[in-house]
Amino acid sequence: MSKILVGLKRVVDYNVRVRVKPDGSGVVTEGVKMSINPFDEIALEEALRIKEKGGASEVIVAAIGPQDAQQQLRTGLAMGADRAILVQADQPIEPLAVARVFLKLIEKESPEIVLLGKQGIDDDNNQTGQMLAALWNRPQATFASKIELAGNTAKVTREVDAGLETIEIDLPAVITTDLRLNEPRYVKLPEIMKAKKKPLETLLLADLGVDVAAQFKVSNYAPPPARQKGIIVKDVGELVAALKQKGLIQ
């Protein structure tokens, strides 16, 4: 039976209002709540549903990040993943390097499906899944809102600008998730206790022999330019008059 490999990125929780550091060197992360990247949580939920329907034998969650990313992996185990792999990296690495690390994990685990979030809500790059599929020389189905498995193929419905697109891919393949694929389950206390006993393997990034050198220099973090505050009109009549005055309606 087949394995599903799911990537879990540790990111600033989506409810946190992110602030830029005064010196422009980054955003404030000290003392800020960290969580599983929401799109990755959807990926894990989908993997668990596939396994529960008999479509997979094992769900493995993997994170690349600091030792603290164990927290997110434990949450993934509590949701129902069977085991976890942490690739410990003390510095953030770029998506291409992340894809190279995942390729190493693929060589080790031979999964049938790699399920990733479509983007991390920190860097908003939206690259890793596509890059991994390219390096692996396998199909990619990005922005998935529906996944139907049929033997060695999968039919994936994708959220595209024009509406919905369905493609058929041979497995193994990389699938990245969009918001509407599913609603992730809540973790219950007994599962959190059980998750503590599930295997969590730690690998050191340096031991994998992967080129993770940064290709980009990122600097000058700044808050977005503020829009000028406008005026409050008192009723519909004033609104229509103002729109006409701006030439926006006839």
Binding site: V18, M131, Q228
Partner: protein, 313 residues
């Protein structure tokens, strides 16, 4: 010498306006020579339109039956074969470009700059991170190919009036068969396309139901506008996901944006901050949407919308 290849986006024989935005971004790189690649089964009409874009030197047609639909795994190796002659490869930051360009970058062994919103130098750009809560400078080394996507809302479309030479190229690369197009269901609404519309009316959770969301369609039709929705309205099932405006949906820059019953979560504001005029209608005068609105009206949308339609005639 900076040579830029822009990957054209098109469907149904029509060039997507995102291509003219990418050309415009490319034009801001000083001294750049700009070519546009059109991968299609029959590129004729699309290539002719691309050749009219100001600043384009050459249009390269790559015609192949396998290019009838834009499948990233099939297009990427063809683009890699073309990329030899270029320093930069640009695509739009639409679902088409987001799907395709990272695959191209990885095959070239380089990273990608996503969502360019401003050009500072040939290898230095500004881009948004953290749902637009921060803007950063990204600088790449000039001895590597630069692959990037262009945030279309940040650039005006290149004007027409150009007359580029059109060439046909047949890269000899093996194309995979592991990915097959099945179908596409476009919401055939007869309304303008949300991504490119000059007017957009969006509804939020305050609409309360899919039935009441029809008030948004009604106002949009009166204005000849496209319809959008907040993530909350989409999550609640009032509107389809392809109408979602915001960081996780579409990023748009219409002339007029009317937000109805939308509180203005940061992830929504990220999607509209390049709109020329923002109108907010909301019953909560403290709603964050009023911080960015040019015109605000505080009140009950169920009273305001019918009245607004009446006054629009």
């Amino acid at each position: 010498m900076i040579k830029i290849l822009v990957i054209a986006e098109h469907a149904g024989g029509k060039l997507n306006p995102s291509t003219a935005k990418c050309v415009s971004c490319a034009s801001q790189i000083e001294g750049a020579e700009i070519d546009v690649a059109v991968l299609a089964a029959d590129a004729g009409e699309v290539a002719a339109r691309a050749a009219e874009l100001a600043g384009v030197k050459r249009v390269i047609k790559v015609e192949h039956g396998a290019n009838a639909e834009p499948i990233a795994a099939i297009q990427a190796p063809q683009i890699v074969a073309l990329a030899n002659d270029y320093t930069h490869v640009l695509g739009p930051s639409t679902t088409f470009g987001k799907d395709l360009m990272p695959r191209v970058a990885a095959l070239l062994g380089v990273g990608q700059v996503s969502d360019i919103m401003a050009v500072e130098a040939p290898y230095r750009f500004r881009r948004p991170v953290y749902a637009g809560n921060a803007i950063v400078t990204v600088e790449a080394a000039s001895d590597r190919k630069l692959v990037a996507t262009v945030r279309t809302a940040s650039f005006q479309a290149a004007s027409t009036g150009g007359n580029a030479e059109i060439q046909t190229v047949q890269p000899s690369v093996e194309l995979p068969t592991h990915t097959r197009f099945v179908s596409r269901s476009a919401a055939a609404t007869g309304r303008p396309d949300l991504q490119t519309a000059t007017r957009v009316v969006s509804g939020g959770r305050a609409l309360g139901s899919a039935e009441q969301f029809k008030l948004i369609y009604s106002l949009a039709d009166k204005l000849g506008a496209a319809v959008g929705a907040s993530r909350a309205a989409v999550d609640a099932g009032y509107a389809a996901n392809d109408l979602q405006v915001g960081q996780t949906g579409k990023i748009i820059a219409p002339e007029l944006y009317i937000a109805v019953g939308i509180s203005g979560a940061i992830q929504h504001l990220t999607g509209i901050k390049d709109a020329r005029t923002i109108v907010a209608i909301n019953k909560d005068s403290e709603a964050p949407i009023f911080e960015v609105a040019d015109l605000g009206l505080v009140g009950d949308l169920f009273e305001i919308l019918p009245e607004l339609e009446r006054q629009l005639g």
